[in-house]
Amino acid sequence: MKKYILTRRQFLKQAAAVSAATALSAQELGLKPSTLMAAPQLQEIAPGVLREECLILENPSGTVLPADDFNRWRSGYSGVWVCGLQQLALDALWYIDPDAGVDGVWDDALAAEPPIYNDDFTQMTVKLREGIYWSDGVEFTADDLYYTVDLIKNTPGLANQGLFEGSIDRMEQPDRNTVIFYLKEPNSRFHAAFTVRWGAQYIMPKHIFEQVDDPVAFTFNPPVSLGAYTLRDFDPNGQWYLWERREDWQRTSLARLGDVDVKYAMYIDPGPSDKRVIAQMAHELDVIHDITPEGRITLAKDSPTSVGWFPSFPWAHPDPTLPAVIYNNEKPGLDKWEVRWALTLAMDIAQIALASYRGAATISAIHVPPTGMYPQYYHEPLEPWLNDFTIKVGGEDYKPYDPTAAQRIADLARPSLGDLVPTDPDTIKQYIGAGWWKHDLDAAEQLMLDAGMQKKDGKWALPDGSDFKVPLMSLGESNPTMNRAAAMVVDNWAAFGIDTSLEAQANLWPIMSSGEYTASLAWTIETWGGHPDLFFFLNSWHSKFYVASGESSVGSNSMRWKSPELDRIIEEIQNISFDDPKGIELGLEYCKLAAQEMPITPLMAYNVFTTMDTTYFTGYPSIDDPYTDPVPNWGNTKYMFVKIKPKAT
């Protein structure tokens, strides 16, 4: 054993030498063209724009096509939303931070205060801030809010039209800073539509849109900004967007939180993971949205100026999204909780973490993401319960929880990453998560037998003897880590005797929605991150929205889970206010129910290897200053611009 570790160390040294050599040449690549053109300190990246004044960020949507269409209000997704538009130029009433926030999780942006509901939640009053201006000098008022909602309500083809049409009875604008919404039915979460977590209802400039004949076809080019930046220039082929700080940035909602010192921001399409790594080593890309774990490790070893959310392993920022093995709960076999639990116990989370993220994963045994404030809201309170939690295996109580799972992952990752992996148990808990479910093939086998499944020639079959096939869909080329996790799950299942295969689908969402699948490694659970309210995703899991396989599901219940108990929890959450502390209690009930039934097997946080270069700028968010999610595509990214400072000044 010892000898084997030694040889491996030797080999790893060689590997490091090779990657260092390539890194060196990559740095030359970065310097060569630029040094030829100008001295490094005066390098221009666009006419009149110095490199050191311009924060370069990755647009994770890649190239934007069509490049010149900035209508964020149209129905249908476009990459232009995240080219800086929703981060730098648009603004909304409220923001909930996926992490701690600059000044708390909740931020009143365009609104002066949180939403004011009446007692039976049929009326929501919004008070707006004063002294906010559009980039063309027009003042922002309640007219804009009223106009935005009114136009959308009456214009099919604009996003949220159905929501507004369905829930707003009428609106009132008592003064230039107030709008009152009268709702058709009681709704304690109506403000969610106006509250940004990634994106929400952004406010239109009335003075622009009222001159437009067809607001659906309108391209809003150039965009008039309500944020701290305006569009200076962009690539007609959609590979880059250059934003310039407004002269009057102090007249935006962001100014309350600090000074905006970054003069320019450029969103670019840096190409696939490998190219992003090389670009950052050449200091040509300040904020990488995501790269492969191997790319991140390379940067950790070879790029001393690169920093991440965690100062060392696992580096990545855990997004408030929960990748999971999603079963179609209607397929024969998978309609039994014993089988879903058996498949769960047949997985080895340590191997999955290793295969997908090289161990740089933040695991979760329960059905909420272990990110943002959630470990404090849910994971820690549930720890004692999980330790005692039992399921019936072969008629006897069985404790499936393994509190040492994170420790095992750290131990497995250490040989190849050495000191980068933390040793302190508390740090491990914070970085990698707590426990997960046991890898116990005996218990899994017993559960299969409990469910009446048969084992024929080492392969599991349905109770009636017919084939039990569980092909696992994954995201394929577009999402390496998820795909790698799926490949490992397939390995694990195959070893347990499941007839399984990996089915890579670049776009698996419509297939999941239609129910024409058996199992899929993807996500259906997303949360606010900073705020404990679970209604964000639970809403559509109510049985009144349930749709059988073969038809498109509504919302995110693509596993087709139906439970009266779940309906009760959802209804109760709906009937309390957004900030009611009882929300967390109901959330804990949901977690326990989901653990019992295991409609999907939660794996880990969606770890995003957002990596930032400190050569020109500092002040990026991190676990030590978790003021927001570092990913550059969320609407919440705007908060980074009061914290990030040019190094020169």
């Binding site: 492969t292 394929g476 390995d491």
Partner: protein, 285 residues
């Protein structure tokens, strides 16, 4: 036959090199039947080890021995190539001979179909089909699809060969003597067409292996089956290039190049041997 082989071995440097290269590939194929590792299992060996005596091609970031994994990859890619070649050869020979011999509207219709296949942009259609077939997109089905798409050029080639043969006297004699069209085709034309069939077979094998690589790299083939394409796919998925695991990219690329070079050299050297014209030039007459 053996003598021919011996002569080729002794006097044709290209043939010798081809045999050495393909021998290496064949050895890999054979070794796959005695692999100590199951290619479907990961983390069976320490990961990211560079090539060494213990692990000839190093190990992958998925904890697999790259050499043994590639033995399966070569085997599967060759299997794909050969199945594709057989299917498309059968179609192209049938279509080419029929069109060339029968002529008239049959020829027009067959060539119109063939031209349609030439004009259809294959890659987008293959990608669409792979979406459509999803988990049924295994190696065999891919081979069948490629076979169904890969015959048109060669059918045209065979047809034109038959057209020139038709003008020769023996065909006319055969027709006057009342031999049926089918037998003329089989007895008289096939032998002349076979060198073309042989030449296009190797090209077709290379083409289909190449298409598989393209589809795999885009993540659209059966990713759990080891092939030369999926090798590159998984290497990309693990950022092998920037992670310094260069052997994961290099080894499949080199093995692919060796296989292709070997097949090409074999093709030219045998072709020259078969082709009476080149033989004549070398030997004289």
């Amino acid at each position: 036959m053996l003598k021919v082989l011996r002569d080729l071995l002794r006097y044709d440097g290209r043939f010798r090199l081809a045999i050495i290269l393909l021998g290496g590939v064949a050895a890999m194929v054979l070794l796959s039947y005695d692999s100590p590792y199951d290619p479907g299992k990961s983390f069976v060996v320490p990961w990211d080890l560079p090539p060494s005596r213990e692990h000839l091609f190093g190990t992958t970031s998925r904890g697999q021995d790259l050499f043994w994994w590639l033995t399966f990859a070569v085997r599967n890619s060759l299997y794909l190539g050969i199945v594709t070649a057989i299917i498309s050869r059968v179609i192209s020979v049938l279509v080419g001979l029929t069109a060339g011999y029968r002529g008239g509207w049959i020829d027009r219709v067959l060539m119109a179909i063939s031209d349609t296949f030439v004009v259809l942009p294959l890659l987008p259609i293959l990608i669409l089909l792979s979406f459509l077939l999803r988990d049924s997109m295994n190696l065999l089905n891919l081979a069948i699809i490629l076979g169904l798409f890969g015959w048109s050029f060669d059918a045209r080639l065979i047809r034109s060969q038959v057209l020139s043969l038709r003008e020769r006297s023996f065909t006319r004699t055969a027709i006057y003597s009342g031999t049926s069209g089918f037998w003329i085709t089989i007895n008289e034309h096939l032998p002349f067409v076979l060198p073309i069939v042989f030449a296009t077979t190797l090209n077709n094998i290379l083409w289909s292996i190449g298409m598989e690589v393209t589809l795999s790299v885009l993540g659209l083939s059966d990713l759990t089956t080891p092939t030369l394409g999926t090798a590159l796919f998984w290497a990309n998925q693990h950022g092998a290039l920037v992670a310094g695991v260069w052997w994961w990219i290099t080894a499949p690329a080199v093995v692919t190049a060796i296989l292709f070079l070997g097949l090409y050299l074999l093709f030219t050297s045998i072709n020259e041997f078969i082709d009476p014209r080149t033989r004549l030039r070398l030997i004289g007459g």
